[in-house]
């Protein structure tokens, strides 16, 4: 079994309690950070570790922190993005429910690095269990002087607030999150300015994913070189992979970056349900372009390899689809999700995504028209890189890749005027 970082102590009973966490090296990274390092040194260490954002975009975390202006005269904020909402992704929830102090420790160190005294965890509203656990953990952290004034008697001060999300996918987009945190509709902001200079309440703001922040204490404790020992040259560390779909052992697996997808599915996920044939895999959450069974044979799970294969690591939500999956039906379902979640402020996303959803559903229902596929691809082109936030491109990711890679299946639907796939009736998909 590979060495784990984030899930190492996941099965230790009561690890969510601060005393147990402390017994397992908990808050030692924080102590080291505060006692031995200046904030800038922390940034340098994290830069050197090669840690990249685990929320989807993979932006280098240390570099992001270094963008925070030192002399803006405004308070700096740190927001932990815990609005995990990408379909197929369920790793942050596990980290928060099982090991909340690891996240809190990461937050405190990061806040120290960017000179922030008020941090927020913006947590998805549906995560009631994680909220309960975090509330308790935050309270304990205050009691044990790991939060609040003069942390570990090192003079650093940080307040941490848990903020329940207001229930929409787009609140997970970083500027949508900021709007929501300010009490407004989660509508992404126009960039520039970027949050690092003008973010929450117009102050410089760092926004990091739960998994990203949870890595920080370990990097400080054990050093960047140790961290770089995991994964590939440009995708360092381990990654939490969320396996779901037609797979025998769905769940969250922590493995080094660069693990072959095939190995992930077969060795860890226990292979396809019922020994059926693999048809396709969405590798990084629902918005990342789908891979065919042939591509799955070759691709490795890191930022560069997936990009080379025309997809993305994204949030590493691996959705496995076997031969009983109708790709048109699956696409209709995915576009329906995006059509429902578009915030509606910018035109191409608001109108285009709903239009695509209607067409996809119509094709699945056997009412496809000649030219529908060209129309879908042209709508994608009219959305691609033209929306206010990345959601437009998230929504077209599946459309373009499904049609390009499974075109004959779409054409069969249109030609035959019905869905020709023999689906697994035990799986219910809302139409």
């Amino acid at each position: 079994m590979e060495e784990k970082i984030l899930l190492k102590y996941i099965d230790v009973p009561d690890i969510e309690k601060i005393e147990v966490y402390q017994k397992h090296d908990g808050y030692k990274g924080l102590a080291k950070a505060l006692k031995q390092h200046k904030p800038d040194q922390i940034i340098e260490l994290v830069k050197a570790s090669g840690l990249r954002g685990r929320g989807g975009a993979g932006f280098p975390a240390g570099l992001k922190w270094s963008f925070v202006p030192k002399d803006s005269g405004k308070p700096v904020f740190l927001c932990c993005n815990a609005d995990e909402g990408e379909p197929g992704t369920f790793k942050d929830r596990l980290l928060m429910e099982k090991n909340p102090h690891q996240l809190i420790e990461g937050i405190v160190i990061t806040a120290y690095a960017v000179n922030c005294h008020q941090a927020y965890i913006y947590i998805r509203g549906e995560f009631s269990q994680a909220m309960k656990v975090l509330e308790q953990a935050i309270e304990e952290a205050y009691e044990h002087n790991c939060l609040g004034k003069n942390i570990l008697k090192q003079g650093f001060h940080l307040e941490l607030s848990l903020h329940s999300g207001a229930g929409s996918y787009i609140a997970g987009e970083e500027t949508g999150l900021l709007e929501s945190l300010e009490g407004k509709r989660a509508e992404p902001r126009l960039k520039p300015p970027f949050p690092a200079s003008v973010g929450l309440f117009k102050g410089p703001t760092v926004i990091n994913n739960v998994e990203t922040l949870s890595n920080v204490p370990h990097i400080i404790m054990r050093g960047p070189e140790w961290f770089k020992g995991f994964g590939t040259e440009k995708s360092t560390g381990t990654k939490l992979f969320c396996l779901s779909g037609h797979i025998n052992k769905p769940g969250v697996y922590e493995l080094p970056m660069g693990v072959p997808l095939k190995e992930l599915i077969n060795n860890y996920g226990g292979g396809i349900i019922g020994g059926r044939k693999l048809k396709a895999v969405i590798p990084g959450g629902s918005s990342t372009p789908v891979l065919t069974a042939e591509q799955v044979e070759e691709v490795a799970m890191d930022f560069e390899s997936l990009q080379a294969a025309g997809s993305m690591l994204g949030s590493a939500g691996v959705i496995v689809m076997d031969e009983t999956t109708c790709m048109v039906d699956a696409l209709a379902n995915l576009t329906r999700f995006y059509a429902h979640e578009s915030c509606g402020q910018c035109t191409p996303c608001r109108e285009g995504v709903s239009w695509m959803a209607k067409i996809a559903r119509r094709i699945e229902e056997g009412k496809g028209l000649e030219g529908d596929l060209e129309l879908l691809l042209d709508i994608c082109d009219n959305i691609s890189f033209k929306t206010l936030c990345p959601m437009g491109d998230a929504a077209i990711g599946p459309v373009v890749s499904f049609i390009t890679k499974f075109r004959s299946e779409f054409e069969d639907h249109i030609r035959q005027g019905r869905c020709p796939i023999e689906k697994d009736k035990s799986i219910k998909v809302r139409g």
Partner: protein, 530 residues
Amino acid sequence: MAKIKIDGKELQVPDGITILEAATIAGIEIPHFCYHKELSIRGSCRMCLVEVEKMPKLVPACSTTIKDEMNIFTSSERVIKNRRGVLEFFLINHPLDCPICDQAGECTLQDYVYKYGSAVSRFTEEKEHFERRKELGPHVLHYSERCVLCGRCIRFCEEISETRELARFNRSVRSEVDVFPGKRLDNKLSGNVVDLCPVGAMVSKEFLFKSRVWWLTHTESICPLCSRGCNIEIDSRDNKILRVRPRPNPEVNSQWMCDDGRFGWDFVHREDRLTSPLKREGAEMVSISWTQAINLVKGRLSYIISNFGKEAVAAIASPYLTNEDNYLLRVLLLSVIRSPSMAVYQAAQVEEPMVFPSGFTIEADKSPNLAGAQDVSAVEGREPISHRQLLQKVASGEVRALYFLGGAPRISLPVDEREILKKVDFLVVHDYAPSELTEWAELVLPNLSFAEREGTFTNFQGRVQRIRPALLPPGEAKPDWEILQEICQAMGGEVNYPSAEKVFEGIAGAVPGYKGLSYSELGNQGKAKG
């Protein structure tokens, strides 16, 4: 300054401006919906995306700042494709009800589709449907299905009126603009959202289905309902005002006007407008000819002057009438009759000024020309007297004849003033309709409303602005200056102005501060007096 290139055209532009502003300088139109120069930038309609050399994505022209050496393309293939795409997106769920839409003819969506859009629809799905028409407030109706969700109306209520009644509700294609639960769009600036709306989503209840806009005649004028003097356009048809909208004037009203002014012109079309001179005979008012009226004034004034002296004649100028009108009153009283008793009527202020956080203000003084009336009636070296002081002279019997210019859209005199008016031997009143002034007049001369005449108002800042006739006068009613000029002439005065414009030249020659001003100098934005 930055050196940039737009569509091959090289030009120098100030640093820090946006591509959209630079294009405007270069005379290039970049179509847009959500951008409005008085509101914050949202960048959400995606209509204004342009191509910039070395930038991989198209960028919003409204929010992208110019950089030196920037090379911008506003009509490259990619830009044109995006515009067509965005317009198609707007239209797929749009009801295409232009034949019955108030905005048709002045609709940005219509114009852009005509210019940049496609003639064929690729949309075969069912359109989204919404409640057809919602009442948001006393003046504004909303058609959600026509809305392009540019958010200008919402930002106006957040940033200009700061009343925050509006928001976008629901998500995705179910998004719609509405008032917050329990709220109404009833702030005093609500009508501006109708002007801001680029399509027919926000419409005016008053104007709804009144006319196709291309049948309207547009007349530039000034709002007569407070001393701010918002620049307006009167839209009329068949000698009726159908709509009043603000004209931009950064010195006075930015782009806005208040609902009091926008919807408060109905007095112009009162059923009881006066159409001929009226003479009191017992309890009755009898219609007489202008010749009879002028002779009556001349006879009665001459009698009073010869029996009680010229000081027994007094006049009250009107802040509701133009400088030209009040100037002729001054000529009559001070130059022809040579009586010193002239004052300007000033209504007691009953309201506080309404100042919006954005700076826009509805003034407490509900007359458009108090400053101007005071300017033209002032006599150098003589302390002006108030109309109440002057009325005391009437009460004491010192004044026997009173020439009173009315013209207020609404007037309510204090009881003591009304009692005094009852006692005047000879009261002549100019007004456009029966009022508390005409009630006790021996002679009522019918004048014109602001919408039927030429002239100037001087606003509270001392800005002199022109009004222009949008309508024909009712019956035999005349502008006050013309009536007064005829009386001057009847009484031996040597005045002969052929037009209001010439009267203004007379003012420019005689009244301090107005020197050098002329109608052409005032243009359509007015000029501050000296």
